[in-house]
């Protein structure tokens, strides 16, 4: 714990998470490592972005952050408390301060609920009671904070658009006045015009309420626009932490990822180079660097020795041959 960022609200300390899965109906049980030894500080008041391709462990990391999943190894500290060491009542108290917004605004709201019920649910979960008048007032205020017309309180989720539902998800996350909000691809199912509205709302809430965000996305342009720092994940591991959005890309995978993203500018088209090899399976992790089979600068050492992310570096890269 020596090299903590001084004001870190959340800290992952060597966190791994395994899942076991059966290969086919009668196949043998195999274990796969979805998150692999992540050590990471989430600085207070900042937006930390997490990027990486499908299946690299972003959502698993999000659920570990809120202790919705237990780590198989390592510890998650929220405000200095090891979440695994807390008794249920104490854990519930800490959980008030951390909330989550999910990708799919459809599945995260019970279809039988009114919008008011949905927004007020966190109070119920935490046994906080309101008189009906207080409840109406509180719900109206939360909806307004999320940029929704309080009149919508009586409606049901199916009567709302995707963007409105995502705003309801945000209103609900704000209910208990959290310090940290984990956003797992909050705009992935929305049109760009609505995505931009939601991101503007999130930015406004953050500066008004002093929130900390862990913002997961596969949209690199969006992450670059919205985040202060960017964590790049590959096959369960954090391979580079960009301390700012204009920091150079030093990990070969980060560079590949960033160069694959098309820019909205026909004068600056990408030259697409052929990526050889597929992402290895998390069941059969190669012994050395997980990116070696696709890496243009891999050496013999890369196949034998696993690179680690240096804990104290201001711009950490898990690579034997980082780019300049």
């Amino acid at each position: 714990m020596a090299d903590r960022i001084p004001d870190s609200i959340l800290r992952f300390d060597g966190v791994s998470r395994d899942f076991s899965a059966q290969a086919g109906l009668f196949g043998r049980k195999r274990t796969m490592r979805a998150v692999d030894g992540v050590t990471l500080d989430i600085p207070r008041g900042k937006v930390t972005g997490v990027v990486g391709e499908s299946g690299c462990g972003k959502s698993t990391l999000a659920r570990l952050a809120l202790h919705l999943l237990k780590p198989s190894a390592g510890h998650v500290y929220f405000e200095g408390h090891d979440l695994a060491g807390l008794k249920p009542a104490a854990l519930r108290r800490q959980r008030r301060h951390m909330q989550m917004v999910f990708q799919d605004p459809y599945s995260s709201i019970d279809p039988r609920f009114t919008i008011r019920d949905a927004v007020m649910e966190p109070f119920q979960v935490h046994g906080i009671r309101h008189t009906p008048a207080e409840g109406r007032e509180k719900a109206a205020r939360l909806l307004e904070m999320a940029g929704l017309d309080p009149q919508l309180a009586e409606r049901h989720p199916h009567q709302l658009s995707g963007g409105q539902k995502q705003r309801v998800g945000i209103a609900r996350a704000l209910a208990l006045e959290p310090d940290l909000i984990v956003l797992d691809e909050p705009t992935a199912s929305l049109d760009v015009s609505i995505q931009a509205q939601i991101v503007a709302l999130l930015a406004d809430l953050r500066s008004r309420l002093g929130l900390t965000y862990l913002f997961i996305s596969h949209d690199l342009g969006l992450v670059r626009y919205f985040c202060d720092r960017i964590v790049v994940m590959y096959l369960g591991a954090a391979v580079e932490i960009l301390p700012s959005t204009d920091a150079p890309h030093r990990h070969p995978y980060t560079r590949t990822l960033m160069e694959s993203a098309f820019l909205p500018d026909p004068e600056r088209r990408r030259t697409v180079t052929r990526l050889s090899g597929e992402i290895p399976s998390a069941f059969e992790r190669p012994p050395g660097c997980a990116f070696a089979a696709r890496c243009p600068v891999a050496s013999g050492r890369c196949y034998a020795e696993k690179p680690v992310l240096p804990a104290t570096d201001p711009h950490p890269v898990a690579c034997h041959h980082p780019l300049d």
Binding site: E53, S54, S161, G163, D191, V192, S193, I194, Q195, A196, Q197, I198, V199, A200, A203, H218, L220, G221, L222, R224, Y225, F226, D246, T256, L257, S260, A261, F262, L263, P264, D265, P266, E267, R268, R269, R270, V272, R274, L275, S276, G277, E278, I279
Partner: protein, 324 residues
């Protein structure tokens, strides 16, 4: 005349008019991007051109659509069947809608080759393997014998493209072909499609809501809004000199490199549905320069003469040519 020419095409499903006087044209060796937010009518346009409207209870109510010498508005199903796959191929967003889960992917490409090119079993297999090599599918012979569920999303989409190519089509309609894929795989697939256009002279109608993909791959762009055309032009004009307020707003929703925080605002409001289409210009409730006539009069198309690129805009008050 163009290979594909669509003029003032209107489509209804049941009693509901959904497409209203859509026009565009596409030639061999050309990529036309069809863009717009969800619900703007992109997929419906694809269904119409594939002759699949009867499947969803739809019909063409006005206008013309021709492919080569065929009048698509009156083509009997039996003759459409001879075009589909062989001359016009569809690649859809979800590869599983085009793949049979109980057949090996190789058998499915073979089948497409035999159906469309009348090859023997051995010749079809050789052709499939050749197509798979062209699409840079590693270990094609091994993958040929695998089932769809054994392959990644990007690999399945490449198989669907191989099937589309098996008939040696003149026109490929690709409806959001990379929306479900990771950026590194998206980059590869878009490159493969661009190469097909450049090397084989295929005409590609590329349907997408991703302005990065448009900028990377398209020659010309047609912007749809709420079932109507907003603007058509070369990709350079559309990005550098948009004339329709919606085109400009849509491009403004994508964060650019180095975009200052807080400057991405989106488009207020949302896309109307067929039941809530406003009178006049359908964009007027969201348009920042709407005037009185916009609320009552449907804007007609004005032909543009933009540095030789041409194009058309449907707006009462097009932006200045120098704008943007």
């Amino acid at each position: 005349m163009s290979l594909l020419a669509v003029t003032d095409l209107s489509v209804a499903i049941g009693m509901v008019p959904l497409l209203d006087r859509i026009s565009f044209s596409l030639d061999r060796g050309e990529v036309l991007g069809l863009v717009g937010e969800s619900g703007s009518g992109k997929s419906l346009t694809a269904m119409t051109l594939m002759g699949l409207l009867p499947l969803i209870g739809g019909r063409i109510t006005a206008g013309r659509a021709s492919f080569d010498d065929f009048d698509l508005t009156i083509l009997p199903e039996a003759r459409y069947r001879a075009l589909r796959g062989r001359r016009i191929a569809l690649i859809s967003q979800n590869p599983m809608t085009s793949l049979d889960p109980i057949l090996t992917v190789g058998a499915q490409i073979d089948q497409a080759s035999r159906l469309h090119a009348g090859l023997s079993a051995a010749a079809a297999r050789a052709r499939s393997l050749d197509l798979m090599h062209q699409l840079r599918i590693p270990e094609a012979a091994a993958i040929h014998g695998q089932y769809p569920h054994q392959l990644s999303g990007g690999m399945k989409q490449r198989i669907v493209i191989a099937m589309a190519l098996a008939g040696d089509p003149d026109l490929i309609i690709a409806d959001e072909p990379t929306t479900a894929l990771d950026v590194t795989i998206q980059a590869q697939i878009i490159q493969i499609l661009s190469d097909l256009v450049a090397e084989r002279g295929v005409a590609l109608l590329l349907i997408t809501h991703d302005m990065g993909v448009v900028a990377q791959a398209c020659h010309r762009v047609s912007v749809l809004y709420a079932g109507r055309c907003a603007e058509t032009g070369t990709v350079h004009d559309i990005f550098a000199r948009p004339r329709h307020p919606y085109t400009k707003a849509l491009i403004g929703c994508i964060p650019r490199e180095g975009q200052a925080p807080g400057t991405l605002v989106g488009i207020p409001g949302m896309v109307p549905t067929a039941f809530t289409y406003p009178k006049g210009c359908r964009y007027h409730p969201r348009c920042t320069v709407a005037a009185a006539e916009c609320r009552t009069e449907v804007p007609a198309g004005s032909i543009l003469d933009r540095s030789g690129g041409g194009g058309i805009v449907f707006c009462h008050h097009p932006l200045e040519a120098a704008h943007g």
